[in-house]
């Protein structure tokens, strides 16, 4: 069971308080009607499935009810950082040693 630092509550809390909400940093196209079916399909359905660093959204459902981002290693399940919606990740695949915030 994971222990997740909520960037809004500023506390480590148990995984049971959270729910997973899919890949992070997927922006809804501003003009959906101008997209081809294929482009719209990419936005809709295509997701990364990395073995390694993954930026994903979590939801503090039984806490502050805020969505936020998590950089998690999908093999070790290590959480390298959590950061608010709208912020950019501090660690990337090429920078796995990044300090957890």
């Amino acid at each position: 069971m994971l222990q997740i630092y909520c960037p809004y509550c500023r506390e480590n809390r148990e995984e049971e308080e959270f729910s997973y909400s899919g890949e992070a940093h997927i922006q809804r196209p501003l003009e959906p009607e101008s997209l081809s079916n294929e482009q719209w399909g990419d936005y809709q359905f295509f997701r990364k499935n990395p073995r390694g660093l993954h930026h994903e959204m979590w939801y503090h459902a039984a806490g502050c009810r805020r969505y936020f981002n998590v950089s998690r290693h999908t093999v070790s399940y290590e959480i390298l950082e959590t950061y608010p919606i709208g912020a950019e990740p501090g660690v990337s695949e090429s920078d796995k040693t990044g300090e957890a915030r």
């Binding site: 994971l2 222990q3 939801y59």
Partner: protein, 1012 residues
């Protein structure tokens, strides 16, 4: 008779005899015994029959590793299957039963199969019983019955179990020498420490040790350290507590057995009830740092008939002597590959019983312990091995033979040594289970001839024998370092250790020999069974056969032979098995690798895992404010999510169909009343509320005026219907959104998702108010007359209070919101009052409606009435693959909305525009009395050869008392253009029911009745 009990010694209280029964036979042990030590004291050799061959089996070990001594305790609701006798503390009145063997341990059906010996090679079940396939059920029944490992109780468990969430800075697992010192060290640095050990007493191997530590006996030293720890406020000591799983982010699970040692009924006695004793507690521990001091498990040696009762682990024999004062036999042959086990021969000699010989596989053993044994007059036979045990139900002798230096071949003629006990030691395997749980990959060490814990994946370190350190001083030292390091990493101290090495007279030891399969004068496939895994009867020949049959991966061999699949998870056998496989494959052990241990370390009871989450606490139940009224008036219940909703109100003598028909007709003819409190309600406020709602719903909300309501449908971004409901404008920038009962939580999360992640610039706030309001829906042609009687401050007239309006007012004295919305198609008033007034207002409405025959109705009638009107229920008529157009609800899609609302773009995908998508229609069975089963499949031609072409399925189906025929809603491919066609529903019983495709609106198609 405790024939094997020694006159003196041991950590037992001879003044306290303990009576127990074994298979119904009364016996006596002594306080401090385990069931295993008591049985051995009583000279019991056979504890069960083996799983596959039905061979008699006796106790091998003294702890968690025990594969054979598996017992069932007690009878009835509290019986416990599959316990290791070596871990069961003896208590007065204990009833133990063997679990293997059918019909009995003494006469065993499987034993007859066993006599046929080689008839059951690995893969036997796959190879034999799969053909003919249909007979498998027959075979399986008898195999399971014969091979069973105990019976699960069939009654409800009367005991109470708890779960406890714990946090600590340092969790130390195992309270042997390394663990005790680690805990002491961490505690001295000020860390919050939990020290857990599976045994009843702390001390681990020291409880059976003959060494002295700094002038004290090992037991005195343990007592002193435990006393220091007990005096610390920052230390929690948990004996009888097994850490059985190590999960992500240093989360560990720990099973504490609180009353089992007092008897299986102890937690359910009246005394226990007053002290609130729970039988077991599951601790869920989030540890900052972990020290694994789990010790090591001795490896048996694999030789012919090594499973005959009387073949035991050397350290176990020493433990029975030193800790329990039991000598399990008379004449000992010790078979070893290392110096360490010589201690057992020395211990045995001291009991006054005979040591026939020590058989050492090494050519010239010359270590200090070897010399000490020789000085004591013990005969040492080097360069030999026990190649076969003699005897059927008990060892009667050992066949020994000279071995070559590598231990791979017998080099001379065999001879027999008469004995009744063969203690064996193939070295030690560190108990790396918990470290493995974290994903750390075990690494092989030639030096210790075993697997060591792999590189840490979490905040943990191993210490002592768990790390392959086998000297006592080494264990103590490593424990201190690990404790100090764990404390430092947890933020306490700088890693400095308070440890001062005590004086310990330990003899230096020479290297062990790696010997995983003792050669026989016959080749393995012809030799007597050489057991690797006792519990599942896996032999060396079986593993070699698997290799010959092409299995190369250790994980595959494990599954094919079932090695390590028993309740002991191969604690004794796996390393030997892997080494034998490696040799058969002509590769090294590291190349072959090891299987990964997974939780649980030892079996965990379901009771502890469930804790208090049983019965009515299993899942919360939600009641409306009118719940008790419903109960008092004969409601049958339907579970909707966690809500209990009245399903229908049964009157004496009525069937369900009678009751539903009566309720339906009451609504259509006069008036009914429904508790609609469970509908989800989300209060939405903020200057951008209207804009936000418009983006979420398919239809327009920007112009919805205060006092008005609108029905809307919510899509997921893929264009599929997700939820529906009415939203009311309560005032400027203030809305109330109704959701389906089951969808309330999901919808709130959905709104928050979009607001927070995509449109944070929209200022809008959401609050769940579902539980704040009680809702009574008064519906039917007489509804207005009922409301008039209890509400005087709202103009209820048709033109002043229109359909899809809402008003503030007072109903039966309570402040209320009244909505003119309808899910029945009749004139309806939904009365919302603060939940506390719910029952009062409900009763007043019942009084007011009495003259009109007001009839309470439940969800079933609600479903029938709405189906008569063709109103969908999201989740029943839709399944996540239905668009509004599929539901014939194109009208709900706002055509002039500027913002591309959620799901809009997807509706233009080619698949969503397809002509022959499944579409919502009504079905009218040709026989008006036949009600189609919901879920029935629809075909065009019931006589078409299989597989038939599926046309769709029935989503809702009822008998309509009002229409006097059955009605159904269904989705049918291209159904909207197939009105009047007849389709068929083939049923499991062979019937095919014909039905005509009709409009989904059966009743009042013009919608006039709700506008009166």
């Amino acid at each position: 008779m405790q024939t094997n009990r020694l006159a003196a010694g041991g950590r037992i209280d001879r003044a306290k005899p303990v009576n127990f029964t074994f298979n119904g036979k009364p016996m006596q042990g002594i306080a401090g015994d385990t069931l295993a030590s008591a049985l051995l004291a009583n000279g019991i050799d056979i504890l069960g029959r083996s799983f596959k061959y039905g061979r008699p089996r006796g106790i091998v070990g003294h702890g968690a590793e025990e594969p054979n001594g598996i017992v069932q305790l007690g009878t009835g609701a509290q019986t416990v299957p599959n316990l290791r006798a070596t871990q069961v503390e003896l208590y007065e009145g204990l009833e133990a039963f063997t679990v293997g063997g059918w019909p009995s341990v003494e006469f065993d059906l499987m034993g007859m199969l066993g006599a046929l010996g080689k008839l059951m090679p690995p893969g036997f079940y796959y190879k034999t019983f799969m053909r003919p396939k249909k007979l498998w059920m027959t075979y399986e029944h008898f195999i399971r019955k014969a091979a069973g490992l105990g019976r699960a109780p069939i009654e409800a468990d009367p005991d109470t179990y708890d779960k406890l969430n714990q946090h600590c800075d340092v969790l130390v697992v195992g309270a042997g020498p390394a663990g005790l010192v680690a805990a002491r060290e961490a505690a001295r640095h000020g860390a919050r420490v939990i020290l857990a050990d599976e045994q009843s007493e702390f001390g681990g191997s020291l409880l059976a040790s003959t060494l002295s530590i700094g002038g004290q006996s090992a037991a005195q030293w343990v007592a002193q350290v435990v006393a220091e720890l007990r005096a610390c406020d920052n230390v929690e000591l948990l004996p009888r507590s097994t850490v059985f799983g190590y999960y992500d982010h240093n989360f560990l699970t720990l099973l504490e057995r609180r009353t089992d040692h007092q008897g299986i009924s102890a937690a359910a006695t009246p005394q226990a009830a007053t002290t609130k004793a729970t039988r077991q507690r599951l601790h869920r521990v989030r540890a900052g740092q972990v020290v694994l001091a789990t010790g090591a498990i001795e490896r048996p040696l694999v030789f012919g008939n090594n499973d005959v009762p009387g073949v035991m682990l050397a350290a176990s024999v020493s433990t029975y002597i030193n800790r329990y004062a039991v000598a399990p036999g008379n004449k000992l042959v010790l078979f070893t590959t290392n110096d360490n086990a010589y201690q057992t021969a020395i211990d045995w000699q001291r009991t006054g019983r005979q040591v026939v010989a020590v058989v050492d596989s090494r050519a010239n053993p010359s270590g200090a312990l070897v010399k000490l044994a020789a000085q004591l007059g013990i005969k040492v036979i080097g360069g030999h091995g026990v190649i076969e045990a003699m005897g059927k139900k008990r060892v009667t002798g050992a066949v020994i033979a000279p071995l070559n230096q590598e231990g791979t071949a017998v080099t001379g003629s065999a001879r027999r040594l008469a004995c009744d006990l063969i203690a064996c030691s193939g070295g030690w395997s560190p108990a790396i289970h918990l470290s493995s749980h974290t994903g750390a990959k075990p690494r092989w060490s030639d030096e210790i001839v075993g697997f060591l814990p792999g590189e840490s994946k979490q905040q943990e370190r191993s210490a002592g024998a768990a790390k392959g350190t086998y000297t006592l001083l080494g264990c103590l030292h490593e424990g201190a370092l690990a404790g100090a390091d764990a404390a430092r990493m947890a933020g306490f101290g700088k890693g400095e250790s308070h440890f001062v090495a005590p004086n310990i007279q330990e003899l230096p030891q020479q290297p062990p020999q790696a010997l995983f399969l003792v050669p026989h004068s016959k080749r393995t496939s012809r030799a007597p069974n050489q057991f690797v895994d006792f519990q599942l009867d896996v032999t060396a020949a079986g593993i070699e056969l698997a290799a010959r049959e092409g299995y190369e991966s250790v994980e595959h061999v494990k599954r094919y032979t079932a090695m390590g699949f028993g309740t002991d998870q191969g604690k004794l056998g796996n390393i030997n098995g892997m080494a034998i496989l490696a040799k058969a494959l002509g590769q090294s052990i590291p190349e072959t690798g090891t299987t990964i241990f997974r939780p649980s370390y030892t079996p965990t009871t379901f009771g502890a895992i469930a804790g208090r989450d049983v019965g009515e606490l299993f899942d919360p139940e939600r009641y409306t404010a009118m719940h008790r009224w419903h109960r008092e008036h004969g409601a049958e219940w339907e579970n909707v999510g966690q809500w209990k909703r009245p399903w229908y109100f049964r009157k004496p003598g009525e069937t369900m169909r009678d009751a539903v028909n009566r309720e339906c007709l009451a609504v259509r003819n006069s008036v009914g009343i429904l508790d609609a409190s469970t509908l989800g309600k989300i209060d939405i406020q903020g200057p951008d509320a209207a804009e936000f709602i418009s983006r979420i719903y398919t239809n327009a909300y920007l112009k919805l005026a205060p006092g008005k309501c609108r029905y809307g449908v919510m899509l997921k971004e893929d264009g599929m219907i997700f939820d529906d409901g009415v939203t009311a404008c309560l005032g400027e920038n203030h809305y109330l959104m109704f959701t389906t009962t089951g969808g309330a939580a999901g919808v709130l999360a959905w709104l928050e998702l979009w607001q927070q992640t995509e449109w944070p610039e929209l200022e809008v706030y959401f609050t769940s108010v579902t539980d704040h309001w009680a809702t009574a829906t008064v519906t039917g042609p007489s509804a207005r007359k009922v409301i008039e009687k209890v509400c005087s401050d709202i103009d209820l007239s048709r033109d002043a209070f229109k359909f899809m309006d809402w008003r503030n007012g007072t109903v039966a004295g309570a402040k209320a919101r009244v909505f003119r919305i309808s899910f029945t198609g009749e004139l309806s008033f939904e009365v919302h009052v603060p939940a506390h007034y719910g029952r009062h207002v409900w009763e007043k409405l019942m009084e007011a409606g009495e003259a009109f025959g007001i009839t309470p109705y439940g969800t079933e009638t609600m479903h029938v009435l709405r189906a008569e009107k063709g109103y969908i229920i999201v989740g029943q008529d839709t399944d996540g693959s239905m668009t509004p157009q599929d539901m014939n609800m194109d009208w709900v899609i706002g055509k002039n909305k500027t913002f591309s609302f959620i799901g809009k773009r997807s509706l233009q995908r080619s698949d969503c525009m397809r002509e022959n998508r499944k579409q919502m229609v009504g079905l009218k069975t040709l026989d008006p009395n036949v009600v189609l089963p919901e879920g029935a499949q629809i075909v065009n031609d019931p006589n078409q050869p299989l597989p038939m072409a599926m046309q769709g399925h029935v989503t809702s189906s009822y008998y309509s008392a009002c229409m006097k025929h059955s009605i159904a809603l269904a989705v049918v491919k291209g159904g909207l253009k197939r009105m009047g066609e007849v389709v068929h529903c083939p049923l499991a019983d062979g019937r095919a029911i014909a039905a005509e495709i009709v409009s989904s609106i059966f009743y009042d198609p013009k919608g006039e009745r709700q506008n009166v």
